[in-house]
Amino acid sequence: MAETAHPSTASAAPPLRRAPKPLSLLRRRWRKFRALKRGWYSFLILTGAYALSFFLPVLVNSRALIVKCDGRYYFPAVGKFHEAKAFGQRLVGEADYRKLKRQFEEEGRGNWVILPPYPYHPHESLLTDPELPGNPPHPPSRRHWMGTDDRGRDVFARLLYGFQISITFGIAVVGLSYLIGMAIGACLGYFGGRIDLYGQRLVEIWSNLPFLYIIMIIGSLMKPDMSILIAILAIFSWISISFYMRGEFYREKSKDYAAAAISQGESNLSVMFRHLLPNGLTPVISFAPFSLVGAISSLVALDFLGFGLRPPTPSWGELVNQGLQNIFKWHLVVFPLGAMFATLLLVVFIGEAIREAFDPKSHSRLR
């Protein structure tokens, strides 16, 4: 009781408010994280951008948001596919909404089209676009902020959709690989003995497999889709976290609270998950952002080498590869790598702040 411990202060001031409940460790760390401005703002920017990227279909899309045609309203961007004939266009397949907009304006019959702010789709080839003369890749222009790629697709649109794919991919790889690594590391550290001895040997073999090499071999034989690529990458990147988990479990298991839980007859699973895991989570959380950096740059590298996601998935690495094949098309190299750099830098700032908040190493120095 704070009041009884300090009667003098209590009597001097009107009834003292009760001492606030001590914050939980996690809450304290969260506060510390928020106090580290660089990391906190990076976190806000990155999560904001990622959240915004889910609205890309209405922000960056060749389909119109709203079409008013002869008294009826259509919502192609979020709704269903409309044939060109539905709006009286003489085209086969889907309507061309940019053309439709001009057409309606010329007609002046009260029909109108609202296009998304950036009216190009990442998969859309603009080779037949009358506003883009010459051969692709086109240099950046007022309409196409970052130019087009070698198939005449808008680079800026591909870049933005690629951002969402990269982050989703990275988070999935980190999540899956941490799940595998934590489970294996926890078992090795908890059970120890023979399991640990043989397990370590197997982990050593696994860690010496040249993982990009194997992904390249597999990728050269079949074009893996996103979930397979995530699984392959995760299967080869769980090793470092399993080492940390093994160490944590090994140390925590020898502590008294673990012995108490075991002697109360709790099952192995219960001891591992309810007692040891919460105490061994620090390295997991503080390493995750840096693993995310690794996962995203692996994806870009694989796409660059041609072993990544299936075309026509918008990808940063594929653009870079195109750019290096034609050294005069600087915009195909500089913009995607700039986007990757900015994204990774934000993640690194977040990671640095998380590490600082979770694992504060105060170095005491003389002088």
Binding site: L221, V300, F304, K329, V333, L337, M340, L345, V348, R365
Partner: protein
């Protein structure tokens, strides 16, 4: 101690076998292997000959079964996988890595030819990284919390956020004579006219081709090495023996550079062993960006060509280097830290 390292060397064997078995199995089970590749090539060759003869129709030439059998026999595809692996292992023990069917040369010769190129760039790159990172790390530790520390940290973050090959791609576009400045060549190990150059021109030419790739190699370890140096020195500066040294009245310079620094370089020294595998293996990303014909690029092209004899050869080479590098790390550990006694 000798017994410990003898055991470590022996433990290399199961790891080595494990790695090669897994990759061997993958190369066997995946479709589109070397036999299919050769058959496709033969068919394409036949088709081209025919169209040149005026037929103009793409016909696929039927490959006689006997030839297919011959090919299968040559690549040991007619045997069960474990026998094929044992045969491969037997060849390996007699130092026969087989022959590449894309280059028509023995794999050993291919590797020996490209090895010096990879090691040239890798070694210079790592040396450069060590030369920059250790002094930088020391300076950051001594001036911890200062404006210099803060500014150089920004550099470290940037270095961590940009992979070496990505920087290489940007540098090539900027300085390779595309849309901006024409300062450096577009990669490669040396100019095509290398033989005609005199000694001075050779030196200039080699430097010209070296600067950009080496910069990218150095960037690879820049961030982690700098931070490692800094943290290691900071940790040592907080220790009791440093307090004692100060209490004896030694100068700050002597305490930091003689007492603390020697101990704090131990982790960096032992990292050297791990780096050796990386240096020698070459980075196929950087080699691909700069069109450097090294080990990494050889591995990349042979995977594309399904030339699995070369792939396995490079795998053997890289795995041995990495495993030996790990042991070398332990040796360095013993040499630099007299407290360590491996049992």
């Amino acid at each position: 101690m000798a017994a410990y390292f003898a055991r470590r060397l022996l433990l290399m064997i199961p790891t080595f076998l494990g790695v090669t078995v897994i990759v061997f199995a993958i190369t066997r089970f995946v479709p589109g292997g070397p036999i299919e590749q050769i058959i496709v090539r033969m068919q394409m060759g036949g088709g081209r000959g025919e169209s040149a003869g005026g037929a103009g129709v793409e016909t696929s030439v039927a490959i006689p079964e006997a030839v297919k059998e011959e090919l299968k026999k040559h690549f040991h595809f007619d045997k069960p996988i474990w026998r094929a692996y044992l045969l491969w292992l037997g060849d390996l023990l007699s130092l026969n890595l087989g022959k590449s069917y894309t280059y028509g040369l023995p794999v050993l010769e291919l590797i020996a030819e490209r090895f010096p190129v990879s090691i040239y760039f890798g070694l210079i790159g790592y040396l450069l990284a060590y030369l920059v990172c250790i002094p930088l790390g020391i300076a950051k530790a001594i001036k911890h919390g200062s404006a210099f520390d803060f500014a150089s940290s920004a550099l470290v973050f940037i270095g961590y956020s940009i992979p070496g090959w990505a920087l290489g791609a940007v540098l090539l576009v900027l300085f390779g004579g595309g849309s901006f400045w024409n300062v450096f060549p577009l990669g490669g190990f040396r100019s095509a006219s290398w033989e005609q150059l005199n000694l001075f021109e050779k030196v200039i030419d080699q430097l010209h081709h070296t600067i950009l790739p080496v910069f990218c190699y150095a960037l690879g370890g820049f961030a982690t090495l700098t931070i490692l140096t800094k943290n290691s020195l900071m940790e040592n500066l907080g220790q009791d023996y440093i307090r004692t040294a100060f209490a004896k009245g030694l100068s700050e310079r002597r305490v930091i550079f003689v007492h603390a620094l020697r101990n704090s370089l131990i982790p960096i020294c032992t990292g050297l062993g791990h780096a050796i595998g990386l240096i020698m293996a070459g980075s196929y990303l950087i080699e691909k960006v700069f069109n450097i014909d090294g080990i990494g690029y050889l591995g990349f092209t042979s995977i594309n060509e399904r030339d699995f004899t070369v792939v396995m050869g490079i795998l053997v080479f890289n795995t041995l280097l990495i495993l030996l590098g790990n042991i070398l790390s332990d040796v360095l550990y013993v040499l630099t830290d007299p407290r360590i006694r491996f049992q």
